[in-house]
């Protein structure tokens, strides 16, 4: 989800700079709803590489049109493969030292060495290298759909889960935070999660649980008074929507992957090391106390 959200301004920039062009976005079906009603995207091709039928459909769709250029924002073999299948005249991507899978850079006709720190700005540099002349920082996201059980009034929305355990804040800390938010600010803490996470999130006393898919997450994020997250898609979604919030970081670098814009306070322990190690726990995440998070949220509300 984060990759898609971080590429939205670059996509807007490209379309704005080439208004007469047709812009096609190839995306995993799981995240395609993020592009609904996006005024800068003309065509969406859904591709799940693990499904043979999906690959064949995407192949046909890509070969059906002629593309002047392709831009690979993701820097993976699979995204480079898509650009290669499209047979674009030119393929723009990052330099091999800046892609996630180095061999992806083999397939780019232009390799851009970005000087920006944050991935949103890096993507904008890539769009500029592809010829975009006017930078447009916009995150056009759909309205979302009400799902789950949200309280009537204001609430703080937390998304405790991340791609791997080391990026997550301990669940036990949410218990203390929920109590302080309720007692001192009169705000319930809503723990949001995908289907299948109810029993895990329900183990936190004093917090409400909201189970939703992507449209429900967008809706609840729009409704929330503030958002608490870690280095995960829902945090980037909230930042893109300009929501106030707090993000807790550990093994990943917030300068590169942090919430974009100025609406979030980022908390990171001085002991944190940028390792990207996919461990189950990271002591630097546990070191961020619920009291510290409460004060940071209070200042943002």
């Amino acid at each position: 989800m984060g990759d898609v959200i971080h590429a939205l301004p670059a996509c807007a920039t490209l379309k704005h700079s080439f208004p007469g062009s047709t812009l096609t976005w190839v995306i995993h079906p799981r995240w395609a709803q993020l592009l609904e009603a996006n005024p800068f995207v003309d065509d969406v091709i859904r591709l799940d590489r693990r499904k043979a039928g999906s690959l064949a459909d995407a192949w046909r769709a890509l070969r059906h049109s002629r593309y002047d250029f392709a831009v690979d924002f993701q820097g993976l073999i699979q995204s480079a493969l898509v650009a290669s299948i499209a047979r674009a005249d030119r393929i723009f991507g990052f330099h091999q030292s800046q892609v996630r899978e180095k061999l992806a850079a083999l397939f780019y006709s232009s390799r851009v060495r970005s000087t920006a720190l944050h991935v949103v700005d890096r993507n904008l540099e890539l769009a500029a290298a592809a010829g975009a002349s006017t930078i447009l920082i916009q995150f056009p996201l759909p309205a979302g759909i009400p799902e789950g059980d949200l309280p009537e009034g204001g609430f703080v929305l937390a998304n405790p889960q991340a791609g791997w355990g080391a990026k997550e804040w301990p669940l036990d800390h949410f218990r203390v935070l929920a109590r302080r938010l309720r007692d001192e600010l009169g705000l319930p803490l809503v723990l949001n999660g995908p289907p299948g996470s109810r029993s895990l999130l329900g183990s936190v006393p004093g917090a409400l649980v909201n189970i939703s898919g992507l449209p429900g997450l967008i809706h609840s994020t729009r409704r929330a008074s503030a958002v608490l997250g870690c280095d995960s898609g829902p945090t980037h979604l909230a930042a893109a929507l300009g929501k106030p919030g707090v993000a807790i970081f550990g093994p990943t670098d917030p300068a590169r992957n942090g919430p974009y814009g100025g609406s979030f306070t980022v908390l990171r322990s001085p002991t944190a090391v940028t390792s990207h190690q996919r461990r189950a726990h990271d002591p630097s995440m546990e070191a961020i106390s619920p009291d510290l998070v409460f004060e940071a949220l209070k200042a943002r509300l």
């Binding site: 073999i77 290669s84 299948i85 899978e101 180095k102 061999l103 083999l106 990207h276 190690q277 996919r278």
Partner: protein
């Protein structure tokens, strides 16, 4: 055979890929850290090596290497299913002309997990002893 002769430059690999394709043989390129080489690597390479074709392995440098690139290259080159090993370095655009994108695989993410699991197992053994 001195399997170290399988370690070639990017340019040599591009020429070999071109020859292979010209002869109608499939070619596959795999990138990864192989740091250190584990049984899981051998199984994975055997799985994706093209039948009757050539398997190229492009070594990448992990953020914190355990073994130097030359040592890793020699270990990977000793595997029977591997035909060419390319040391870490700038990518030669010619290689992409002869290896289709669908025949390129990256083991970088999987290698990070393998290395972490391996280090964890060593730590666990040390605690037990």
């Amino acid at each position: 055979m001195d399997t170290r002769t399988k370690i070639v430059s990017m340019e040599y690999a591009a020429a070999a890929a071109r020859s292979g394709r010209a002869a109608g043989k499939p070619v596959t390129l795999v990138g990864g850290f192989f740091d250190p080489l584990l049984a899981a690597h051998a199984r994975r390479l055997a799985e994706i090596a093209p039948r009757g074709g050539a398997l190229f392995v492009a070594l990448q440098d992990p953020p914190l290497p355990v073994l130097p690139a030359q040592a890793r290259a020699e270990l990977v080159a000793a595997l029977c299913m591997v035909d060419y090993v390319i040391l870490p370095g700038p990518l030669a655009p010619g290689l992409a002309d002869w290896i289709p994108a669908e025949a390129v695989f990256s083991e970088e993410a999987a290698d990070q997990r393998r290395t972490q699991d391996f280090i964890q197992r060593v730590h666990d053994r040390q605690k037990q002893s």
